[in-house]
Amino acid sequence: MDPRRIAGLLDAPGCRRRLAVDVSGIEPAVLAAAVGAAEGGQSPYARERDGTFAQLALARLPELAARHLGVRAEAVVETDELPSGAGLWSWRAPKLRLGDTDLTVDRVLLVGDGTRLHPIETRSYACLDGQADPTKVAGTARELAVTVAALRQAADEPDQVSSACLLVLPRNFGLNPVGTTLDVAPQLRRLRWVLDRLNAGTDRISAALEGPELVGALGRVPARFGDGCPSCAVYPYCRGDAEQSGAAARAGATVANLCGPVGLAADALALAHGDRVPGDETEHAIATELSRAALAYTQAKTRSQEPS
């Protein structure tokens, strides 16, 4: 699996369906076809830009390593094992594992300050006035956490690999590389916790399934619909599922949080309108909240018709 896939475990660790898809290694293209998602391709222009920037960034790495980590290195040196000491390395197709899973990475860039190694990541989203899209940086940080964890597994001493990484982005409106240090320690802690809890109990889906059969298998694993779902590959399916079943969670986490065990929008509204007798104290609490909202809304609509 590639780091992005494993980092995906951090996107929605509470969703069994999402976890099943990631852990079972379902091919993204197969999944997209089955759930009727658009081909999540990349624009040819974005791809060209990525390539150009990666080249530019590589050439400027010695300078950036010196500025941000005080490491003097003439050039990036190829290596075929985890290096040590001070320097700048490119490790192509490294054999890395995370737990029992093989990690597929084209190349890992590393800078060593003499005692510790810092992974380097280049991305082509812009850094404007020192600020980049915080959602994109968060995504990068999650993937870097996977790399750091795998490198630590490969190292003799886990401490040899630092969680402080060097992130290289294009500056402002051009392609001038600019570096910043990014500490992924929080993401690493979360990853450790999620990986520790991935066990035989996790639902599996056969990676051989396609089309309607895959959809059927997905439907048998419970999901947890919420605000983060639109970025998930299974989203079109889960959304339809939530709509068909009348789930209150379809309208987001705030709604799901207030409705609690009352899973259906119709039931929640029945509580709000007094058309359903609360079954227990929890439903009673929900009914109190919602019926006050219903009353406030109804009265306000009348009031809003009056001239102000």
């Binding site: 509470g14 929080p186 916790w193 809890r197 949080n257 409705c259 929890t282 609490a285 909240e289």
Partner: protein, 425 residues
Amino acid sequence: MSEAARRHEAAIEQVWDRVRGTDRAVVVDSPPGAGKSTLVRELTKRLVAAGEHVPVVVQTNDQADDLVIALAAAGLRTGRLHGTEWAPPPRWPRDRVRTGTKLGELGGCDVIVGTAAKWAYVKADDRVWPLGIIDESYQMSAAALVRVGHLFDRLLLVGDPGQLAPFTVADEHSVRSLATWPLDTAAGTVLRHHPDTPVIPLPVSWRLAPHTAPVISDAFYTRPFRAGADAQDRRLDLHTLAHPALSQAAETGWALLELPAAHVPRTDPALVSVLADLTHQLVTADASTVDPSGGRPLTSADIAVGVVHRDQKAQVEAALQRLGVTGVTVDTANRLQGRQYEVVLAWHPLSGRRDASAFHLEAGRLCVLASRHRQACVVVTRAGITDQLHAYPAAEPVWLGTDPPQVDGWEANRVFLDRLAPFRV
């Protein structure tokens, strides 16, 4: 003198040396109940004895009132600088304290205490005090600091780094568009701009007991601390049969009371009534609190109910009014900062939620609620918090150029829950 007391004294002398030295600023990191107020009082006394006039900046009117009462009791000529809507609290030492909305009304005072908000509007006519003391400086924002900083030539900043960070009603994305972070803490701002500033940690909590301090230290602090009291020093005696959570807490300092797991609206009526019942039982249990200074009956002023949202506060207060309980403090974590009680009943921020949120996970929030007590703390919650922590996506936005928080809210919550497990009722 005990080992703990020696270490504490040594830290105080270290602070005093620094204060008399040449550092532009000195920061004192104080875990809950580490004698911060005593320190401020003691240093103020010494400074006044050395002929200085001492301005003290605090964050809330309650904190100002508490400090003024303590300073006046120590025999210092104290002035309370206040806003127009302030009214003196009960037991106000009227005859020993001068009060006023302007500096001119406080002539002859050796110490002047006011909130940061009040100091910001003071007309000092270019007067600069040689040394100012800022209390609760981890609660104070850079935005508040820049409005008072010019009044002092040097600063002593005292505070608890585990409390809630300053917050704003403004949209975070808009504030993040700034090149600086105006909501940094006052202490953090000084340390960033003056990296040579000495930081002196107070190593001993005198409030928390030996069995409660390690939990707080492990979950919420990067600099460990210990309790100053001995295990036998403190005791909460309940003379009538009480709820198991109360007897458990009286015995061990902690109780974790879990109601059946449920996703409920945040004003969870079951939690409201449990908290009200426990409080009612506590005030009617004929309880007494015992420490080395002796024993005395536990009164409602010794009890606080800590909640997360204002509507929870309103509900609990209303429930207590219905039970005829008066005098018990019910407040949100924000407003309980810097205060101390014998017993605290805490509404766990994550109770009854389906999804955790950054607000509810904030380390400082839980830390404040769990570290206000001298004798015992009962944490009340719906079961199922571990699932919430597990399901929380690691999707917080990451802003370039900012360091990850020293204490991560998610991690702190996990550790706290872990350490509290043995005290489940």
